[in-house]
């Protein structure tokens, strides 16, 4: 029986770094270090004399370079001329197929009676209806019920709920699932959101979708578990390091918790960017009427995903761009995306057409403010409420029309002016300089501004009890 001849090693000196691992692998001492610097690499490749070579192959096993010591290609003679590597190894970088989008399916839901559920549950249902079957989370009051509902429902839908070791782990599990192209989300509250921001920056950099429901609570630090609008600044201007932005939605009813969660998934995939939902502790706990939508979504797989199959093999999810010009180009691209997101502004203008006193508020304080508007109208005062639903991008054009007749503007919020700062920044950026002095009703520490406080501000005196 004739033994098949084993190939002897072959080396292009350009791909040898001269580490010498092959030297002691060779029992025949065929390989030696040299002192000749290779002019192309500046390194000193090994020198081979294959006279005694028995083609044992151990040198090739020892070589760490993919294109280092290799079996001699057939027909290659020892004193061969340097060839173009592309000719030797082929020009095709990969035989991986060109991925295509596997689209989501919209499936009809039968009409049902409205549910009576709390805000966090409504948001969880919204996520399930949007096709999210991968939820990661770390318990934190007052957002935990959302995660609890997911922990109960997802196993019954063959979905995945994992209680992560921390919020840092949570956001990175989301990074993985989002990288695989699937919808994913978490429930958290302010201190937890702070911890997630590293990962949010990576998700934005790597252009990954994902939905963060942040039920804001009193801060800074451990603060307390009562409602505050404490993270507006963080969501609109502080999403980790780098030039980061994300659409930020501010629901004010349990119904909106469901609707905006569904919308968040849609926008998140549309722009390949995280979407933040800011709720407040009240809204998370508030029970109300929630009508389910007409459809549910069965998600597809986008073409950019790293799903772990043949179709998506050529993809990479990354936020690193080592070359400065590459990273600048990436930032330009991200900024173009942020600009494109400006069409997504949403706002509610309640009785603003002729409003002389314009209240501006979002989340639960917007409902207190709405109560005020009605009360003020009863008293013959032309009041209106402007409620931004997207805090970023800020609905400045909507505000501009809502404030057309305003003689007074009162920002009502449960924070030290975080919403007001958004209003002022948006006005400034839009070049709107002619507007009344901005007044404010602010509470902090877990206390929401109450209707009577707003009334007092607007009327200039404390109202007698009705």
């Amino acid at each position: 029986m004739a033994l098949k001849e084993r190939p002897k090693p072959f080396l292009l000196p350009e791909y040898c770094k001269g580490c010498g691992r092959c030297l002691d692998a060779c029992a025949k001492d065929c390989i030696t270090l040299s002192d000749q610097i290779n002019p192309l690499t500046g390194l000193i490749p090994v020198v081979m004399d294959l006279t005694n070579c028995n083609a044992c192959g151990l040198c090739m096993d020892a070589c760490p370079e993919p294109y280092g010591l290799r079996p001699a290609p057939e027909g290659v003679v020892e004193d061969f001329e340097l060839e173009d590597p592309a000719k030797l190894f082929g020009v095709k970088p990969s035989d991986a197929p060109e991925p295509v989008d596997l689209p989501s399916e919209v499936m009809p839901l039968p009409t049902t009676e409205p549910l009576v559920i709390k805000g966090t549950y409504a948001s969880a249902l919204g996520a399930l209806l949007a096709g999210c079957r991968h939820v990661y989370g770390y318990p934190i009051t007052p957002s935990t019920e959302g995660a609890e509902l997911m922990a109960k429902f997802l196993p019954k839908l063959d979905g995945t709920f994992i209680q992560a070791v921390s919020e840092v782990a949570t956001v990175n599990m989301m990074y993985g699932t989002a990288g695989a192209g699937l919808p994913t989300m978490t429930f958290t509250s302010s201190p937890g959101f702070s911890l997630m921001l590293e990962g949010v920056s990576y998700m934005i950099g790597a252009e990954l979708p994902g939905v963060f429901v942040d039920i804001m609570r009193g801060g800074p630090g451990l603060g307390n578990i009562a409602p505050e609008q404490s993270d507006i600044k963080l969501a609109c201007h502080g999403l980790g390091h780098g030039n980061t932005q994300a659409i930020t939605l501010a629901p004010s009813t349990p119904q909106e918790m469901l609707d905006l969660t569904m919308l968040a998934f849609e926008l998140s995939f549309k722009y390949r960017n995280p979407v933040i939902i800011l709720g407040d502790g009240y809204l998370g706990q508030m029970t109300g009427k929630v009508q389910l939508p007409k459809n549910l979504i069965k998600p597809g797989i986008p073409k950019w995903a790293v799903y772990g199959d043949a179709m998506h093999r050529k993809n990479v999810i990354t936020s690193i761009f080592l070359t400065e010009t590459d990273l600048e180009a990436h930032n330009v691209h991200l900024n173009e995306k942020y600009e494109a997101m400006e069409v997504e502004t949403r706002a509610e203008s309640f009785l603003c057409e002729d409003a002389e006193v314009l209240l501006i508020a979002c989340n639960t304080p917007a409902r207190m403010a709405k109560g005020c508007v009605q009360e003020l109208r009863h008293q013959g005062i032309k009041a209106g409420l402007f409620r931004p639903i997207t805090l970023w991008p800020f609905p400045i054009h909507e505000l501009e029309s809502a404030m057309a007749t305003a003689q007074r503007i009162v920002v009502v919020e449960a924070s030290a002016g975080q919403l007001e700062d958004e209003v002022r920044l948006a006005l400034s950026k839009a070049g709107i300089r002619n507007y009344p002095e901005i007044e404010s009703v602010r509470r902090m520490g877990g206390i929401l501004p109450q209707q009577d406080e707003v009334m007092t501000q607007v009327l200039g005196h404390k109202e007698a009890r009705v």
Partner: protein, 476 residues
Amino acid sequence: MSKSSVFYDKFERHSHGEGLKGHATHYCPGCGHGLAHKFLAEAIDELGIQDRTVAISPVGCSVFLYYYFDVGNSQAAHGRAPVVALGHKFANPDSVVVSYQGDGDLASIGLAETVATAQLGAPITIIFINNAIYGMTGGQMAPTTLMGQPTATSPAGRNEYMGQPMKMAELIAGLDGPVYVERVALFDAKNRIKAKKAILKGLKNQVEGRGYSFIEVLAECPTHLKMTPEETEKWVKETMEPIFPLGVKKDLTVDPWFKRNPPSFSGEKLLALAGATSEHPERSCKGFPKHLAPHDISLKLAGSGGDGAQTAAMLIARAAINEGFDATHIPSYGPESRGGTSYADVHVAEEEVLNPGSPTPDILIAFNAPSLAKFGPTVKKGGTVIYDSSVVADAPSLDPSVKMVPVPFTGIATDLGKAVVKNIVALGALQAATGIFPKETLLTAIRVALKDKCALIPLNEEAFAWGIKSVESLAG
């Protein structure tokens, strides 16, 4: 032996594949990464899993793993690779996910993720490159730096004030989650064969759904150890290996267990879970109870935790919504809800609840004296206060326009044999005292809430009836 087909034919991602970079790695001469890459590529090849593989590149010198491997690639934040790996694995259980990490990544900044993921035990494969030093940041102390070893941040050698080297293979093997843990090395042909086998086994365990595998590779970093490649191999063998002994640390025989069904997107299933029904509840209301407030009635229910104020509040909200009105319920929550004061704000609106808070309620239901004292004075003029006369001896004097309705919630409930139904007695009293909704409206809400505990329905109906009777007897 030959270049594995798992490596790209040209490293386009390495400086756009220009010049030699198209076919050379970025690793220094003598670096251990190249061999570990090669063994990983060969194992992927041998198992025929190139299409299914997702390689997680962490921060560290191997951050550019995706330059070379023609597989799905995902690059992770420093230390987070194992949880990114989990995110991929659960997204597609058929994928084969490899988390390839250095010592700073795995044993320092990502320790929480490393340990938690190991203990979770889902089948992923961790390849841990331990070279006792930080490479990418330029030779600082690693968690695995040896005692006495000088580094950029331990210039006089690591000493007792800098802690001891982390023995990760032993630590991971001590957990219940992993099925296979081995420490291997690259410094000679014999050990290279073992390393190759270990990586293959770690992947195979995943492919077969047997569980989590961890392969620690003692690797060389000549650049930062400031030695020649040959000296570094010797250093790993003679100095490092005694501290980090090679070998299998754990190898369990485990049947394949990781099998996940594809997620369900059945609308029917989801609606059932949500408790949504197409059945239209019977409506009994003729119109909005405008005698209480024109468009929006605000209620407050206050008591101690366990009084059932929240349940009663929820039932009022449900009853209202079943009748086609809008309603909201905000509970007090947090530490307060655990045995302390428990109060609920409820609104019932003809069209839309504007302000869901009830700072000045039209109706107060007080389950104890402190609640009555606290919230009684906030009740609107002409409003109604219903309170538990079994526990409130002296009601405070409120505005004369406020209607006071004393009902012995506790007494009635106790007589019925179940103190917990006192909130239902209160609902009966609410109905009789205010006429907010017809009896049937509230009873329907109670029956629906108890649909899984039908046996309790008669008792609750009785409690409700007694609440009504009690108010009627006051009038009489």
